[in-house]
Subunit: 407 residues, 2 copies
């Protein structure tokens, strides 16, 4: 495609994302909804002006990696560790309930085949970190206690989702489930997340010292973007989603990051400030492209809206997708109001769900109707949960501080 067309596409994405996010804000909706809608309007669903292409996809991928970097940068590792047990409970519950319910619904109610049912169930497992984080951020709750529990759970969820995808994909080809290869991927992931932040921290100290001696302009944006993208590629190499590489790098560079053994690697606090300030415009530039891309990827015009199966299956699957995640929230030892809020925050599906759907479609596991139903469910959970969460906070937001039953 010619360069000037691509430049116009990028410009159109940025302008429409901004216009729609502004519109969403005027109507009291989270801004991210506006960006998703911009993608739906520009994409094959409505105007068909932009088909998702490799270039936009790359910019979108950089956008979500950088967003997760920023999330990591503002995460307090101490709080994340404190929330660890509850995050883990939430992640496991929010992974297993939708998986089990989705499987039962597909296999035993709609009578689909084993592998199709497993793939559909898999689609429901992983929360969209990007959408969830943006919703909480739009509500000003990202650094709240529930925000930290949800963030940790969404990270674990994404890892489990990708792991499940690898296992199911192998199963669909070889018809056997290999515990060994699943264990290997899991081992890689654990090693990555145990070492990546330390490596990133060491590199950031090197960048800091280099900047001090070099005195040349532009070290922070170039070196940090290179660092973040390298860690994304590294995450991919161990089988984890790329965006989690960005998150690991962000955690490492956060103000509150501590190394094991109390290793002293001090950098000037101004450097942290500098990183935040210089990375912000870059992150703000790339992030909307990701959310617009999610909208572009949902081709709602390809759905056969006259099919009874599509309606019945997608509606019941959406119910299961929502109930499953809220059930995951209910088992977290927290204030009951918070349990529900946490479960609701886990509802949006996105990146990993779309990857499941796409692999299902390309490999022939999903036929047109199943694919359509799955895409509708992803669109539904992503587009509608921001409204509920906002409404829920409006009505019950003041009851979160009430005494908690156990902790």
């Amino acid at each position: 495609m010619e360069t000037h067309i691509l430049l116009l596409q990028i410009a159109a994405i940025l302008v429409l994302a901004r216009a729609f996010s502004e519109l969403a804000a005027r109507f009291g909706a989270p801004r991210v909804i506006g960006e998703l809608c911009a993608g739906i309007v520009l994409g094959p669903s409505i105007l068909g002006l932009i088909a998702p292409n490799d270039l936009i996809r790359l910019l979108a991928e950089i956008g979500i990696i950088l967003l997760l970097f920023e999330v990591g940068l503002h995460t307090d590792l101490g709080h994340l560790v404190d929330a660890g047990k509850r995050s883990l409970v939430l992640a496991l519950g929010g992974f297993m309930f939708p998986f089990a319910l989705g499987y039962l619904l597909s296999r035993h109610v709609f009578d689909l085949s084993l592998i199709v049912s497993l793939f559909i169930a898999g689609t429901l497992t992983a929360t969209s970190i990007g959408v969830t984080v943006r919703i909480l951020d739009d509500l000003g709750r990202q650094s709240s206690p529930e925000g930290e529990i949800v963030l940790g759970a969404a990270v674990v969820d994404d890892l489990l989702g990708v792991l499940l995808l690898a296992v199911l994909y192998e199963f669909s080809i070889t018809n056997t489930i290999s515990i060994a290869s699943a264990g290997k991927i899991m081992g890689f992931m654990v090693v990555f997340f145990a070492t990546a932040p330390i490596l990133a921290k060491l590199l950031s100290v090197a960048i800091y010292r280099f900047q001090v001696v070099s005195n040349s302009p532009g070290v922070v944006p170039t070196a940090l973007v290179a660092l973040v993208l390298s860690f994304a590629a590294l995450a991919h190499a161990v089988g984890a989603p790329e965006l989690l590489g960005g998150f690991a790098a962000g955690i490492a560079l956060s103000r509150r990051f501590f190394l094991p053994l109390g290793l002293a690697l001090r950098v000037d606090p101004e450097f942290h400030e500098d990183i935040s300030n210089q990375m912000r415009p870059i992150i703000q530039l790339f992030t909307p492209i990701f959310f617009v891309m999610v909208g572009l990827s949902l081709d709602l015009s390809a759905v056969d809206w006259s099919s009874v199966f599509v309606w019945a299956f997608s509606l019941s699957l959406a119910a299961v997708a929502i109930i499953g995640k809220i059930a995951g929230g209910l088992i977290v030892p927290e204030n009951p109001y918070m349990r529900i809020a946490i479960g609701m925050a886990m509802v949006p599906r996105g990146e990993v769900g779309l990857i499941f759907a796409e692999i299902g479609r390309v490999s022939g596991i999903f036929d047109e109707n199943v694919f359509a139903a799955v895409v509708i469910v992803i669109a539904y959970t992503t587009l509608f949960s921001p409204f509920w969460i906002r409404a829920y906070y409006r009505h019950f937001g003041d009851r979160f501080a009430e005494p908690q039953p156990e902790r």
Copy 2:
């Protein structure tokens, strides 16, 4: 190509550009040389790690567009208009002398065919705005009087070069030169450059007002990048190089931009400051990718270094390329020391030259040897002129202020 490979390529480009620019600075060379060398090392010439691909090319194109935006942003339109006559003399001289000398050398010394000779001559016409601006900036002379004369001339040069390319390309196919179509392109360009800054100024005022009422984060980076990229696409639509669209947008948003008729469109001076600060990291991120890309595009390993023709032709063509531009500088009514500096600053060839070479090769006008010679000349003028200019400034830099013969 897979996403994680591309992410690694971008990271490698950013890191090597930084490392080599640092190395260049240590050796007293301009930083841009380091970035070009990083491209030569990463590219097919040496390591062959990165082949220029569409994605890197797009990021590079965005980089040069944003760089020209920044150049425009810091340009004083008043000074540019003041330098106008001298810029025009320099542009025309620096366009015609290399063209005439290149043609004579190719046609009458090396006995090449008419169309081949015309294309070779065309390759020598346009100064690389990007390289020239960076060299002057690295030397801290970008806002100097000679910097403004050179900038204006390089812009005119680029327009003339692209116009010539259109005419010659048509000639190579139809064997006729159409004054009408050349005039049409020229008319479009004139209309574009007369109206684009006004339009961009109006849009920037709209963005400013929107930002004031919207109070949402990230308006400046997204809206301004969209604005700059749109103007680049608009420039392309009228037949001008895309980077000049970025320049037009930058001029419009500069602090000193004035509208004809004294039209009052005041924005808060803080807004200008804000634009500068928020765009800087984005520009610093993308710009090195462009210069690395220029290095990647020069495949020095494809050159048949044992060919006598390649050596003889490329060396004499390089001499002609340098003499032609310096001759262009000598006819500018300025202090004699400055005339030479101005001519030297015009020597680097890049973007437009490479486009000429590429079109010549793809259309079969250039055979392998001619193409190699032309690429060597571009590499030579680009890689070596920064050293001379720096050396020249070191020896004669203090004589620029001496009384000028006429003005």
